[in-house]
């Protein structure tokens, strides 16, 4: 009588598990290589000195958080909302992307802040990119908070998807608002966040490796988190099934007792 949600997912195939493991190991190796290159092999920059080493990390996590995770979450949410492609797969993917995205978002803000302090002298600057990143973090957290509310998977999926849609609309607006806010405001100290060094040689490769490594890390985390989502849903509906069945089982013997 598990007709409640006959959608029980099959156990993870060994091939899937193997894929995840391979991705994980590649990600770990790539990250280790990046760190080694970044901290020891590459030379310090002409203008920024050793601080440039953070540039191998920060744009990578930023790209993952702001474009990869957020884009995936928004896209998957849209696919869920579109009737022809509606499937809880997209919902679970979006949720996984958001949760992993939060972690990368925090990494972005932290690495950016740590780079900013010696460069600009401040831990934080109200420029468009930083502010949009912070707003995106809050929106992500809101999404996760909304998902915690107990509900049927389809209802929860719909609600979350709408929220993701609204957030996706909002982030560009916030970005442009803050951009205007800075440039139109007379007398603002115009901090130049684009102190990108002239990248060449080993630095360029390290930067690229950094992007690749962090993308792989994201993919691995996404796969694992997705699987967790499947398992959680299975457990949730399964427990309900069990409770229903127990109720039924308790019901039948009662009649016999009463008849006797």
């Amino acid at each position: 009588m598990s007709a409640h949600q006959g959608r029980s997912s099959p156990p993870e195939s060994s091939r899937a598990r193997w894929t995840v493991r391979v991705v994980g190991i590649t990600a770990a190796v790539a990250t280790a290589a990046t760190v080694w290159l970044a901290l020891w092999v590459t030379p310090p920059d002409v203008t920024q000195g050793d601080l440039v080493r953070l540039v191998y990390l920060h744009p990578g996590v930023a790209w993952v958080a702001l474009y990869l995770a957020f884009g995936l979450a928004a896209g998957a949410s849209l696919l869920y909302l579109w009737p022809r492609t509606r499937s809880l797969f997209w919902d679970r993917l979006a949720a996984a992307a958001v949760e992993v995205g939060v972690v990368f978002n925090v990494c972005t803000l932290v690495s950016g802040s740590i780079w900013g302090k010696p460069t600009w002298g401040v831990w934080w600057a109200w420029d468009a990119r930083l502010t949009s990143t912070a707003v995106l973090l809050v929106l992500f957290l809101g999404y996760l908070a909304l998902r915690r509310v107990p509900a049927e998977p389809e209802v929860r999926a719909r609600r979350s998807a709408f929220l993701a849609l609204f957030a996706a609309v909002d982030v560009p607006i916030v970005h442009f608002s803050v951009l205007w806010w800075r440039t139109l405001h007379q007398g603002a100290t115009v901090l130049n966040p684009d102190l990108t060094p002239t990248i060449h040689g080993s630095m360029a490769w390290t930067l690229l490796l950094g992007f690749v490594a962090l993308t792989l890390v994201f993919v691995w985390m996404l796969l694992v988190r997705y699987r967790i989502g499947v398992l959680e849903d299975r457990l949730g509906t399964g427990e309900l099934d069990m409770a229903l069945r127990q109720r039924q089982a308790e019901g039948a013997p009662d009649d016999e007792d009463e008849a006797a």
Binding site: M1, R227, G238, A252, D254
Partner: protein, 54 residues
């Protein structure tokens, strides 16, 4: 250089800790689902469940 090291340590730790949490969660859940499947399988027919206690 101190800033750089601090940056790397913090970011990598965050990623590492989260990764660890994911692995732990997945293992815990897989075990829970396995246990649960074991329980659900034999007691499938209504009436064959636990003795009718009220």
């Amino acid at each position: 250089m101190g800033y750089v090291v601090a940056g790397y340590v913090i970011v990598l730790s965050l990623l590492f800790l989260y990764a660890g949490q994911l692995v732990w969660r997945k293992r815990r859940l897989t075990r829970a689902v396995e246990r649960f499947e074991l329980l659900a399988a034999p007691g499938d027919e209504p009436g064959a469940g636990p003795a009718g206690s009220r």
